[in-house]
Amino acid sequence: MIRIENLSKRFKKLQALDDINALFSTGQVVSLIGPNGSGKTTLIKSILGMVKADSGTIYVNGKKINGDPSYRGQIGYMPQIGRYPDNMKVGQLFRMLKNIRKMTDAELDTDLLVKFNLASIFDKPMRTLSGGTRQKVSAALAFYFNPDILILDEPTAGLDPLSSEILKEKIMQEKRKDKLILITSHILSDLDELTTHVMYLQEGKMIFLKDIETLRHETGQEKLGKAIAYVMKGGKKEALWIDEVLAVKTTGQPD
């Protein structure tokens, strides 16, 4: 579904992404994990075309992304910090995006909109919203157009536990619909129940990408956080993921 080949990006002195290769397929919930400044957001933004990579290519649904923005129609994106035009009202925001994506009401996924009860604040300008409410808006927007790919940057940060649960529930639901879901987070425990794959980034390098069962098996840790901590400490970097990626590359297997 998404294939990344030899992706590199440098911001002045900082090597944000260093030769990243990865493959994400449908039905996966991939956790992008890494310390702050490890390149998670840069990777996500590269996929969204907001950051232009120095080298390497990204394929979404088998199509290389360059220029044609239409592939973003299949992506729902929830940014880390949802920033919206100050003067725009919540209702307007939804209407505007609906307008841009040209979707009929029947195709829309208003699940989160209802559960977060956002309709009640449709009249409020974005600037009056609290951080948490903004996150709810961001989340509802990401799922609104029923996309095949969901990219969620720190989705539960700033959400109250109840909303957080609603969101997780929603992610589970979408996962069952065989969608690809990319989540970045550094609050590891949050992701345990959702994740099928883990991608670990450090200083722009991908340390590993593997499915959670393998990870648990290899490390012998049940908890995701502990498993990762184990990997980090043990420095068992020569993990299976390299073979996995190479296999994909050589066979040219479709996403």
Binding site: M50, V51, R72, D86, N87
Partner: protein, 255 residues
């Protein structure tokens, strides 16, 4: 494109700065026409507004707007929209709102009190300069890394076009006063849209003086059909080139 511009326009209207600008222009123009004994003196003061204030406000407003709508631009970028379309929509929205402000604030008083060739030339120049400096400001904003630098660059550019350029021109004219400078002066004047606009108005306002000396040459040139095409063409270039450059940079820019 227009759809997006509509939202940009809406956002600008809500911020009230543009309303204040419109009112400012309107009150100044109206009081000039009311206070001055003759309309030609009012037109003269308006000329300074058109040549100095319009470019200045245009640049500052555009730069601040650009940085303020960073969120909007980000949001749009995660949608299936091309960068060209997003930036052009922004340009369209800003240019349209500044143009409306100018036409309401200066246009209506001029049409009521001084509807003649000079008045129309003034309106044409004001409109052209609005578009030119919006375009230049977009280039400055897209190029600069942060808001402070962007506004700084805009101010410097304004200062250059409004004052420094003419100072340099005066120096050149005196340094080479022994040589025939008429043709060169024509070429040099094209390098500054404010000068070009000023000469265009001068042809209507100070035709009598321009007929003296080498002025006749300027009159013959700028007053002829070729000259008007030349002025219009160069103005158009001043609108298109910076915007085109801004688009190129924006397309490669990481957000």
């Amino acid at each position: 494109m227009l759809k997006l511009s509509r939202y940009v326009l809406y956002d600008i209207l809500r911020s009230k700065v543009i309303i204040a600008y419109t009112l400012f222009l309107f009150i100044v123009s109206l009081s000039l026409f009311q206070l001055e004994e003759n309309d030609s003196k009012a037109i003269l003061s308006l000329l300074n507004i058109v040549l100095i204030v319009v470019p200045l406000i245009g640049m500052i407003f555009t730069t601040i707007h650009y940085y303020n709508s960073y969120e909007f631009i980000e949001l749009m970028l995660s949608q299936p929209l091309s960068r060209t379309r997003i930036l052009l929509s922004e340009y369209g929205g800003v240019a349209l709102s500044l143009l409306s402000a100018f036409f309401i604030g200066v246009g209506i008083p001029v049409l009521v009190f001084a509807f003649d060739e000079t008045g129309l030339a003034l309106l044409f120049t004001g409109a052209a300069l609005t578009l030119v400096f919006t375009s230049i400001a977009f280039l400055a904003s897209v190029k600069a890394r942060d808001k402070a630098r962007g506004i700084g660059a805009a101010l410097l550019l304004w200062f250059y076009f409004a004052l420094i350029f003419d100072g340099l021109l005066l120096l050149i004219l005196f340094a080479f006063s022994d040589y025939p400078m008429e043709k060169l002066t024509l070429v040099l004047s094209a390098l500054n849209p404010i000068d070009l606009g000023r000469i265009f108005i001068m042809l209507k306002m100070d035709i009598s003086a321009l007929m003296g000396y080498t002025g006749a040459l300027y009159k013959d040139f700028f007053g002829s059909a070729t000259g008007i095409l030349y002025t219009g063409g160069i103005m158009l270039l001043w609108i298109i080139l910076p915007l085109w450059r801004a688009l190129k940079i924006f397309q490669r820019k990481d957000l």
